[in-house]
């Protein structure tokens, strides 16, 4: 199996090249076939790889394939080497499998678009880059994938480039993630300086020997890596790009801004877990950022009216959960949440896409409604996804992953009550807006004229994802309910088990609290948006809730803050120096020379007597010199 490893990223890459170079001449059918086919085959290989891994002899299997030496100098050798272990496999599986489903969906969804080929080219390139990111054997290659997905995200957010706002959103996404990326690359430099290697296994091996726990260097490195992850994964304070990124086509949002790319930060931290484990401070910071993010973004999600923005904020919030889990050392719980989240969030986005298209590109949820009857299949799929998002107990995948995170937030070695409470608040909010979403979009009366219902190419991926959104959680049960821990065992070869601290209450109590909170959140949503909408109307008219809503709606004013703090000073600074102050300097020399020329020219006035005087001056000068010397 090992020798076919390269096919997984190369197939989408080949798809990209074909589409980019020959896309103009291909029929839509051929484009769809190429674009979707390459990812589907890659998914197939990935699944084969998984089965190979499962059936594999070893508990410690790592696939390595070295393609060629990328570059090598005296001190540094970097190879284009793929390395796949259990952690990578999870990601590969999600990227290819969910990616394939989204591609299939998109082949129908984007059919009317003029730049069909460009769309699939970018999507394929994205899949390839993302695969390189998770399969990289060294940090440079990882960074290659890391930047590659950033670029694809940029290209796809700005896919409909003719609208200036879309381009702005794309730029914003790229630049803000770039800030994180730069932190990451500085972290890489630091790692290289300290360890002299950029091979991930070597780093993970040597770090514990080289660094004492909590030393300054390792904390700096960990924080820099974290900053990289924060940029990519849209964590506070670098989260503002993601809601705007919804300007891209919906399948893009589903694939890139929900299922895969935004979780690259999670992958990075999990991948470099040894570094983080050596730095308790960085761990705490990670957890803190996760918890802050999940609340900040959740609050914004509650009040948004654009269906995609709701989902975007919810994505930020859910990734906040993952960071929280990573921060408290619940590695496998974080990855597990990524796993389930990929399914249900992709599902939600795709379903939202169907709804949007069905309503002639209407994205405001308050102009939707009553779709339960028109689109029953989509409704049930969406319901499955929303349920999973809200973590409806036992029957949704989201419950299993979120429950694990909440439990560890309290009980893991790095956890404490504050994180747990933050998680609970987040859970309530999540449940609330999930309910709001379902109720407002699908229930009630129809408000907008509808188009044609979706075809089978679009519904089949929905159904598959809906199925997985419900069942994917069953592979990992809470400890006290059922002894099924397939997922954490799978990852056990890569990630260390979570160590618990002493003195925590029984898991059962915490679970009950969480469930109650979740259900109450759902009920609140149902109550406010369906049963008794008058309360909301009353709130809207009163001052404080309206102000709070406005505050949340604008994403906690982060955009305005950055605008004042960074963008405006930057524009001012560049604006005043547009003409280059040093240019003025050289122009000054020119002006001086010309002035000097003019004053000298004055002596050439044509008067013979003045010329004689000039000779006299010369003589006086010579005599003066003689007198001086």
């Amino acid at each position: 199996m090992q020798q076919y490893l390269f096919l997984i990223p190369v197939l989408p890459l080949a798809g990209f090249l074909l589409l980019a170079l020959a896309g103009k001449t291909m029929s839509k059918r051929a484009i769809a076939f190429t674009g979707t086919g390459s990812v589907c085959v890659a998914a197939l290989i990935a699944i084969l790889l998984c089965t190979d891994y499962l059936s594999g002899n070893s508990g410690n299997a790592v696939y390595i394939q070295s393609l060629w030496q990328w570059f090598q100098t005296a001190e540094l050798a970097v190879g284009l080497t793929l390395r796949v272990d259990a952690l990578s496999l999870v990601f590969i599986f999600i990227i290819t499998f969910v990616g394939a489903l989204i591609h299939v969906f998109a082949s129908a969804y984007m059919r009317a678009d003029r730049d069909y080929a460009r769309f699939f080219a970018c999507m394929n390139l994205f899949v390839a880059s993302m695969l390189v990111l998770v399969m990289a054997d060294n940090l440079v290659l990882l960074y290659l994938g890391w930047e590659g997905v950033g670029m694809c995200s940029y290209l796809l957010i700005g896919f409909w480039y003719e609208t200036a706002a879309n381009c702005r959103a794309a730029n914003k996404a790229f630049i803000i993630t770039r800030i994180g990326d730069t932190a990451l690359i500085i972290g890489i430099f630091l790692l290289f300086r300290e360890l002299g290697s950029l091979q991930i296994p070597a780093i993970l091996d040597q770090a514990p020997q080289r660094f004492s726990s909590g030393s300054g260097a390792i904390t700096t490195i960990a924080l820099l890596l974290l900053a990289g992850g924060m940029g990519k994964s849209a964590q506070v304070p670098l989260q503002t790009w993601l809601p705007d990124a919804m300007a891209g086509p919906t399948p893009v949002s589903a694939l890139i801004h929900a299922a895969t790319m935004v979780t690259a930060g999670v992958y990075l931290i999990a991948r470099m877990h040894t570094i983080f484990l050596l730095s308790p401070l960085a761990m705490t910071v990670t957890a803190a950022i996760g918890s802050i993010t999940l609340i900040v973004a959740g609050c914004s999600a509650m009040v948004q009216t654009d269906i995609k923005r709701i989902l975007a904020y919810s994505t930020i919030s859910q990734i906040g959960y993952m960071f929280l889990a990573l921060g408290v050392g619940a590695w496998s719980a974080a990855i597990f949440h990524f796993f389930t989240h990929a399914f249900f969030k992709a599902l939600l986005f795709l379903a939202a896409g169907v709804v949007i298209e069905y309503l002639h590109h209407e994205q405001d949820i308050f102009r939707m409604g009553g779709l339960k009857k028109q689109l029953p299949l989509v409704y049930y799929c969406f319901l499955a996804g929303a349920g999973s998002l809200a973590a409806v107990p036992l029957i949704s995948a989201g419950f299993y992953s979120k429950d694990a995170i909440l439990w560890y937030a309290y009980s893991a070695a790095g956890g404490n009550a504050i994180f747990w409470i933050a998680g609970l608040v987040g859970a309530f909010i999540t449940a609330f807006y999930s309910a709001r979403l379902v109720v407002v979009v699908f229930w009630g009366d129809r408000k907008t004229p509808v188009g044609s219902p979706p075809g089978r190419t679009m519904t089949i991926p929905l159904v598959i994802l809906a199925f997985l959104s419900i069942t994917a959680g069953f592979i990992e049960w809470p400890h006290n309910l059922l002894n099924v821990h397939l997922f954490s065992e799978w990852l056990g070869t890569v990630l260390p088990a979570t160590s618990l601290r002493g003195g925590h209450p029984p898991e059962f109590i915490l679970q009950i609290v969480a469930v109650v909170i979740t259900l109450s959140g759902i009920c609140t949503g149902y109550y406010l948006y369906f049963r008794n909408t008058a309360v909301l109307a009353q709130w809207k008219s009163s001052r404080f809730p309206a102000a709070a809503r406005e505050f949340f709606f604008s994403g906690w004013k982060f955009d305005a803050l950055y605008n004042h703090l960074v963008v405006r000073p930057f524009l001012f600074l560049t604006g005043i120096n547009k003409r280059d102050v040093f240019d003025r300097l050289s122009d000054g020399i020119v002006t001086f020379s010309k002035q000097f020329n003019r004053s000298l020219s004055f002596s050439q006035n044509g008067s013979l007597r003045w010329y004689v005087a000039g000779v006299l001056i010369g003589i006086l000068f010579i005599i003066t010199i003689q007198l001086i010397l």
Partner: protein, 481 residues
């Protein structure tokens, strides 16, 4: 006078003879063409004899003259310049109404003055030769009296030159008074014998003499005449003033300084450094926005002689070599540039306005090529003689650790780039509609003029790329002393 002495002086005799021949030809009412061709041949003969008699050098003709390799080189350069000036003159003067024939008498007389300057080693010969040169030039500058304010230029030149001659003489008198000798070589001996070295009268005398030298070389602050005279004089005469007369005066300056050891006196090195720096700066800045090409060349020549003084300051052999190389490349360069101006000039006026040259490259590529190469050479860009010349000067300066003048030289040449480039870019600018020029003369003479320009161009590039041979010849000659 022994036979060998006569051989040594023969080229100068021939030179003197050539003006007499011209007078005779005029007396026999020969045509301009004949005079031109005769003059050309006579000049060739002078150069040829000079080459032939080099074996008898050095040879002193006491008390006035010393013909040595040094003088031979300088005379060669002077006569070569005159040769070229003569070639340019034909077309230029033939197109004017005035009688061009006496021009050659004056030209050859002035040349004789210049040539004799190079072999003079006595105040008397110095003075006589200088006056011969000057008086010839007064008439030459004002030769085309109805044109170009030539009379005004001639008058200005005359008054100032006579004034400077007066200074020269007074200075000589002071030196003579102090030392009792007018021979360059004896002055120092007598000085050493009679008085301590820093004699006030002696130093005062020499420095007053330097006024005249500085005037002829148009060094700041005696430079004010240069632009007016360059502008007013006919283009070939301008070429003569800029090349032959300056070469001659520089030759005598070099000889004087070598014999007296001027560089040993801190007073004089200080004066020369300051004059050099001032000339470089003033010349280049004056030229900066000048719209008249002839004036611009005048200003640039002020600067160039400032550069030259940097090589003069160390007073060693490298400096002399650099000076000779510089002077020859500079004169070739200026001759090319002024040659183009001569060719471009019309019956009515000299082509001295920069606007006359707009788009020249697209109308007359050959002329423009010569002019731009000449300007590049003045600017000191490689592949041209001017670059190597500047290079040798810098080398001489650096070798003697003259950092201040050398740095000023570099910065001043940066400034100078601006106005050279200004002309060059004018040459290559979009051309106005070209007007047809009528050629009334026999095409052979135009051909000759163009051929001369091409030869100049070739020499510029050849000296700029392979200076080895020239340098070897110079070294051989310098050893004849």
């Amino acid at each position: 006078m022994s036979e060998l002495q006569f051989q040594a002086i023969l080229p100068f005799v021939l030179l003197a003879a050539s003006s007499i021949v011209v007078i005779l030809l005029i007396a026999f009412r020969q045509r301009h063409t004949v005079i031109q061709v005769t003059g050309f041949l006579m000049m060739c003969l002078v150069v040829f004899t000079m080459w032939q008699v080099r074996t008898v050098l050095p040879r002193a003709l006491p008390p006035l003259f010393l013909v040595d390799g040094f003088a031979a080189i300088f005379t060669g350069m002077i006569v070569f310049s005159v040769l070229v000036v003569g070639l340019f003159s034909f077309v230029y003067f033939e197109e004017r109404e005035e009688n061009p024939r006496e021009y050659y008498i004056l030209l050859f007389l002035a040349t004789l003055g210049g040539a004799v300057l190079t072999i003079s080693k006595h105040f008397l010969s110095f003075f006589l030769a200088l006056e011969l040169l000057s008086v010839g030039l007064y008439a030459l500058v004002g030769y085309l009296r109805y044109r170009n304010n030539a009379i005004e230029a001639g008058m200005k030149y005359l008054i100032l030159a006579a004034l400077s001659s007066a200074f020269l003489l007074f200075g000589m008198a002071l030196v003579y008074m102090e030392t009792g000798s007018m021979d360059f070589a004896f002055i120092v001996q007598r000085l050493a014998a009679t008085r301590p070295a820093n004699s006030v009268l002696f130093i005062m005398g020499i420095s007053i003499m330097l006024v005249a030298v500085g005037f002829k070389l148009a060094l700041v602050p005696f430079h004010l005449w240069a632009a007016d005279v360059y502008q007013g004089a006919p283009a070939p005469v301008t070429a003569f003033i800029a090349t032959s007369s300056k070469i001659a005066v520089f030759a005598v300056l070099l000889r004087l300084s070598q014999q007296i050891g001027l560089q040993q006196f801190p007073v004089f090195t200080t004066i020369f450094s300051i004059v050099a720096i001032a000339s470089m700066i003033t010349g280049n800045f004056l030229a900066l926005q000048q719209q008249n090409v002839k004036r611009l060349l005048a200003y640039s020549s002020i600067a160039h002689f400032g550069y030259l003084l940097v090589a003069f300051l160390p007073g060693n052999t490298a400096g002399v070599e650099a000076t000779i190389f510089y002077l020859s490349s500079y004169s070739i360069t200026l001759l090319s540039a002024l040659g183009v101006i001569t060719v471009m000039s019309t019956r009515e006026r000299d082509a001295e306005d920069i606007a006359d040259y707009r788009g020249l490259f697209w109308r007359y590529p050959a002329l423009a090529a010569v002019l731009s190469i000449a300007l590049f050479s003045l600017a000191g860009i490689p592949l041209t003689a001017g670059f190597l010349a500047k290079f040798f000067v810098l080398a001489a300066g650096v070798q003697a650790n003259l950092w201040l003048p050398v740095t000023v030289l570099v910065l001043a040449s940066v400034v100078s780039l601006y106005f050279y480039l200004r002309i060059i870019s004018t040459l290559f600018a979009d051309a106005p509609a070209a007007e047809e020029r009528k050629h009334t003369l026999h095409p052979f003479f135009h051909f000759a003029t163009y051929a001369t320009l091409w030869v100049m161009l070739f020499l510029l590039c050849w000296l700029g790329v392979f200076p080895g041979m020239f340098l070897a010849v110079v070294r051989d000659f310098l050893l004849l002393r």
